[in-house]
């Protein structure tokens, strides 16, 4: 995404435009109005007297609302400033735009104002992969509205555009003849509504989404959201603004699936991933637990509703499996893509149990754990019955949908993410190491829930036995004697895929690592091959496929580093965890508090600033969650019984840190941390 792109959103409805507020999308370009994975407007261009406008500034009012300040005239240095144009746009069931033109002259002016509109109704997948459409388009002017629609068999989507006061409408857009007096202004308001066409009842359009939830209530909702989160006090200002940015972005990324009864969970990221993802929704909910625990509850309920119940190769579905991704566009509707929902991921299922346990430890919500007993048991059974593809007692993956399924079903899901040191790619099935850690943790946590809440001590004992056995085997089979770290994976022959990777940090988080091996794992994570100075590289420098700007083979992912910091805390490495927190939070400062999905793995001393990965999504849910999890690890927050234990270890340079009103089973409590170093040390170091 270039810097000149402006994005506003509400749930999975969003608008991406240029700095003028114009939309001129090509098939491969993710600009436009999108809702439920469909583009509802691909052209939206404003001209005044036939001229395009020049941007002066963009004022982001809220994540769902923005204002563009424009003047006529393009391509010249001199700007005729006798007219100003303001477009104020807010997202709802589509968007609402107020267009105002001000005449700063002593004389009246006559203007022809034109807005060109059009739509290709592309599925988001088509935009990503540049595919052709199969249906037919209709454009008509009907009772003061411009109706753009697309139909393929029974599938129908429509965009309805109207203005107040009404202009002259033709099939290509709106024209207004305006006379603006001296120092006067002219204004009109547009409503752009995205809708699903009900076949045979064309006049009745079903609105998606939130049924016209007004902007005022969206503002009130955001205020409530911010007010109910813990407050931060800190002598390092950028941390405060990063925290606020994270809370606002998390609010923006909230998504209400149609069956959630108005409750929300975190969608994965803008622009490509504004939907429910098993892995992303779970990991973000984990990061946000001390701050907004309701996200975890909705994530658990929704993923439980959609849990796999049968064997379906097209969807890579098994009984008990937690979904990977849900989509609502045309290709999903015609089952040309498997996303209704698609199940091809090997980690969301054990992580589901991990989240359920962690959620209960924080919230004390035993009822939800009882309500989801069946789902949690099914998830635990999946690990043994469906995920052990090689019969060797390890979770592995191999897609059954060879056409449109995912090859790599772990978080590093790009084609070259799993490689040997020499760069070769292993065959399938692949048993990546972190999956074994998650499976171990799921069994340990499942055992606690079975004993404490489901009253099934036999299940608890069996799970504990299996966990202990898995841990013993794992520390034998994945441990690389020569490198003293855990192999990235076992290949189809059970041989080690010998690269050094950040996955080692997830192993610490899961607790599967033998205490005696933790020290050398930590040495690698903080060592020069993995630690860039900002965070932990996905793949270590020196591996054949290492590339500092390779998606999963050398970049630093803030979310990845945040879970590694949690892992370090789990094994008692407080100082090292604080060092990682420091790196990521200082990087956040360079992005105005909004961490991208990934940034370059270049050595910190080389570039001095973190280099953003070229096409990274932003905001991205689990990057948004990273500062939240790092606040937890810095303060050492750990629910123990009915209390919250606080055991702070702050990075050098933070003098004091307070998190006030942390919600949980204890009601609300405050946590305080004091640093060891005077704040002035930070200023000196940064100069």
């Amino acid at each position: 995404m270039s810097d000149s792109v402006v994005k506003i959103l509400d749930g999975n409805t969003f608008v991406v435009s240029d700095e003028r507020g114009d939309i001129e999308a090509s098939l491969t370009d993710p600009t436009g109005l999108f809702s439920f994975d469909t583009r509802f407007l691909s052209k939206w261009i404003l001209t005044v007297n036939g001229q395009r406008l020049n941007p002066l500034s963009v004022d982001d009012l809220q994540y769902f609302e923005t204002r563009f300040f424009l003047v006529p005239g393009t391509g010249t240095v001199y700007v005729d400033s006798k007219l100003s144009v303001i477009r104020r746009r807010a997202v709802g069931d589509g968007f609402h735009e107020q267009l105002t033109i001000m005449n700063h002259d002593e004389e009246p002016v006559e203007l022809t104002i034109r807005v060109d509109a059009g739509c290709d109704f592309a599925d988001l997948f088509e935009v990503k992969d540049a595919l052709e459409k199969k249906g037919t388009y209709t454009t008509r002017v009907d009772q003061g509205e411009l109706v753009l629609s697309y139909e393929r068999e029974t599938f129908g989507r429509a965009t309805t555009i109207s203005s107040t006061p009404a202009g002259e409408i033709d099939e290509g857009g709106f024209t207004f003849a305006a006379k603006v007096g001296p120092h006067g202004e002219w204004t009109t308001e547009f409503d752009v509504v995205a809708a699903m066409l009900v076949s045979g009842e064309r006049h009745r359009r079903t609105r998606f989404g939130r049924n016209g939830r007004g902007r005022m209530s969206m503002r009130a909702n955001l205020d409530r959201w911010l007010a109910s989160a813990p407050r931060i006090e800190c002598d390092w200002e950028p941390l405060k603004s990063t925290y606020r940015r994270s809370l606002v972005d998390l609010a923006a990324l909230r998504f209400s699936p149609p069956i959630a009864g108005g409750r929300s969970l975190p969608a994965a990221g803008l622009p490509w991933f504004m939907t429910m993802f098993g892995r992303d929704s779970i990991l973000t909910s984990l990061q946000a637990l001390p701050f907004t625990p309701e996200l975890a509850a909705t994530t658990l309920r929704m993923l439980g509703e959609w849990q796999g119940t049968r064997v379906d190769d097209f969807r890579d579905e098994d009984p008990g499996r937690i979904l990977h991704e849900m989509r609502y566009g045309e290709l999903s509707a015609f089952e040309e893509r498997p996303h209704t929902p698609y199940f091809g991921c090997a980690d969301a299922t054990p992580l589901y149990v991990v989240l359920l346990d962690e959620y209960e430890r924080w919230s004390g919500d035993r009822k939800l754990v009882r309500d989801l007993e069946y789902e949690a048991r099914a998830a635990l059974s999946w690990i043994d019955e469906y995920a052990d593809l090689q019969g060797n007692g390890y979770v592995s993956y191999r897609r059954r949908n060879e056409e449109t399924g995912l090859e790599n079903q772990c978080w590093k899901d790009s084609w070259d993410s799993i490689s040997y040191r020499d760069g070769r790619l292993p065959g399938f099935p692949r048993a990546t190491c972190e999956l074994q850690g998650y499976a171990y943790d799921a069994k340990v946590r499942g055992a606690r829930l079975a004993r404490a809440i489901w009253r099934d001590p036999q299940l608890a004992e069996r799970l504990e036995r299996e966990a202990a056995d898995l841990k013993r085997r794992f520390n034998r089979d994945f441990w690389m004697e020569d490198g003293e770290y855990f192999a990235l994976a076992l290949d189809a022959d059970g041989q080690q895929v010998d690269s050094l990777s950040s996955n080692n940090g997830h192993l610490l988080w899961s607790g599967i690592v033998d205490k005696t091996k933790a020290k050398s794992v930590v040495r690698h994570l903080l060592g020069p091959r993995l630690f860039s100075g900002w965070g932990v590289r996905t793949l270590a420098e020196g591996e054949a496929r290492y590339n500092p700007i390779g998606y999963h083979v050398g970049t630093v992912w803030p979310f990845d580093t945040s879970f590694i910091a949690w892992g370090l805390r789990r094994y008692g490495y407080k100082r090292e965890a604080a060092l990682l927190a420091d790196g990521i939070l200082e990087a956040a400062e360079f992005f105005d508090g909004r961490l991208p999905e990934a940034f370059g793995g270049y050595e910190r001393s080389l570039t001095k600033y973190p280099v953003q990965y070229p096409t990274a999504c932003s905001p991205q849910a689990w990057s948004t969650g990273a500062p939240l999890l790092l606040l937890r690890t810095m303060l050492g927050l750990e629910p123990t019984g009915d209390h919250l234990v606080v055991d702070p270890a702050l990075p050098a340079g933070i003098g004091h840190l307070e998190l006030l009103d942390i919600p949980g089973r204890w009601g609300r409590v405050d946590a305080f941390g004091r640093g060891r170093v005077d704040v002035r040390a930070r200023k000196q170091r940064r100069d």
Partner: protein, 84 residues
């Protein structure tokens, strides 16, 4: 749940009650939590595991009035797709 299944010009109305795991199918009238309207063909496809109910909603061949969650739950009753 109520099902209105269109087959040419005929529409059949069924009522499915699920209570504590017991399932009753009847033609009785009365209020329901969710009404599903579709064709007999699409419904048969769902029951055989060939048609995905959620994709049918997105495609505009199946409509829900009421709580859409029940349709998700209802689909759990049916077998795997034959292609698997």
């Amino acid at each position: 749940m109520a099902f209105e299944l269109r087959d040419g010009k005929r529409t059949q109305r069924w009522r499915v009650e699920i209570e504590k795991g017991n399932l009753t199918v009847s033609h009785r009238q009365g209020s329901t939590d969710c009404t599903v309207r579709t064709t007999q063909d699409v419904f048969d496809g769902i029951v055989r595991g060939e048609v995905n109910a959620f994709a049918a909603v997105l495609r505009g061949t199946l409509f829900i009035d009421g709580d859409p969650k029940l349709l998700v739950n209802f689909q759990r009753l049916f077998p795997s797709p034959p292609r698997t």
